[in-house]
Symmetry: C2
Amino acid sequence: MDIADLATRITSGDRRALARAITLVESGRADHRERAQALLAALLSNGRQALRIGLSGTPGVGKSTFIESFGMMLIGKGLKVAVLAVDPSSARSGGSILGDKTRMERLSRDPKAFIRPSPSQSTLGGVARRTREAVSLCEAAGFDVVLIETVGVGQSETMVAEMTDLFVLLMAPGGGDELQGVKRGIMEMADLILVNKADGDLEPAARRTCADYAGALHLLRRRPQDPEGFPKAMCVSALSEAGLETAWDEMQALADWRREHGFFDARRADQARFWFGEEVRRGLLARLDHDPALRQRMETLGTAVAAGEATVAGAVAEILAEIGARGG
Amino acid sequence: MDIADLATRITSGDRRALARAITLVESGRADHRERAQALLAALLSNGRQALRIGLSGTPGVGKSTFIESFGMMLIGKGLKVAVLAVDPSSARSGGSILGDKTRMERLSRDPKAFIRPSPSQSTLGGVARRTREAVSLCEAAGFDVVLIETVGVGQSETMVAEMTDLFVLLMAPGGGDELQGVKRGIMEMADLILVNKADGDLEPAARRTCADYAGALHLLRRRPQDPEGFPKAMCVSALSEAGLETAWDEMQALADWRREHGFFDARRADQARFWFGEEVRRGLLARLDHDPALRQRMETLGTAVAAGEATVAGAVAEILAEIGARGG
């Protein structure tokens, strides 16, 4: 299909066109890459903006159920919801989570929702680029909320926080000891901590856990991008759907405050700058792997260095001079 | 001074020439860098090899006292000992540890010893290169043992392990709980764990701690580069000098075994290859910072991306094409 055509169909909200476009940005083929770039550029002027929400939580906290309930609640308000997943383990194994859609049955069948599993890429950098580009495509397609789900593993969480407007941490009820297990870095990333499963027998435990987190958040220094009272800890139940409306109200309140005070746009600008720098560095280093002549030269010089026939410093100077002379 | 002259004087064991050469490799100036490269190349054929020992331990375990006692013991055996320090905190603050020499009074005055504090560089990569090159210079100067000391902080330890033949972890006596505090990664790097302060009142505690570490090491899978019984935990006392001879015997036994079985040379070859790759990548990325025209272009494109006037993908493609065309 023609790129201009694809862009028009995405803008008109065609979900099949969107799915196709995401497949295009996920491809590593050079010709696909060029078409993907052209498509993203064509959609840039479209100017639509979704609220990008990062959602993290370790397996077992009820993330899928939460996304299903939260997503359906948003749809009930007339909003369009896209869900993207980032799963580093799937990136490592090369497979993608196919279970997502069956775990979110109602949401996946709703015409106002769009669910896409994690891209299967071999590097976190690769996953980052594809996810970022998929977010842009979802925004261009007119989605109001883009949820980016990730499991509670350090680097992927940081990555998701670097491409979202809000970061939500979903937790399970537990004893006070649980608090120890939450890495300080993740607490500092969170805008909202939602303690899930505040229903039935677990409700008292959820309330206690929530109070513990609230206390811990209180000890963190207030960040300039937060209004009074944020970051916040709240109880929700994805099962009984209790607290979901309030959680959404809080997210909107926070986003609105940040928009009014310039932090919303500033964060997006910083993120764009950050990824630009990251991609340039990644692209530069990729040349070492992709250029066959350069790889051969690196191998030869590396062997000489390993054999003690050349110094590291000398071999490095040689290869850098060559890269310069050959124009990369 | 002429580089050939300097090389000759280093080879003849002139310590002032060695100190001067280390200052040269520590310099960031382009003309110094070129001279340093020439010097290292000139000394390459010299072919002398020291036993490179990495020594790590958190402040308070008695590292300086250990180096003083251990170094004097080696000198007593007719060996020449060089001590280099890697201190990331000194790298960060831009200063260097000046206390080293006064903390090792006997050793620093001995003509068969050479002590050099941590280079004050702004990046760990910079410290790594300078320290590696200083090791080469010490080897060329005929030192038999080069000790590289670092404080117990993750990344600098990995770096030191990547440039030494043996890695020794110095620990203080403590309750069994202490074991929890030692990161698994560091345990896995260690060839020898020495529990210091096995003297006076602390001796029973040191013995218990040592048994704990021995038990923990026993649980790790045996590495191909280790003979039966390694890695090993032992008690020493830097103060009473007990156990130092035995520790040295163990280090030699391990090094000899690795030499006989090819692991010694293989490790050095791997390390050389590793640093070559690292330096090439670092050098490539450094161009982004050092080339003024490129920096300007990155800034302009970054601003366009931040303002939403260009896509990340498009701006990245543009800058990479430019780097290629302009020859880096």
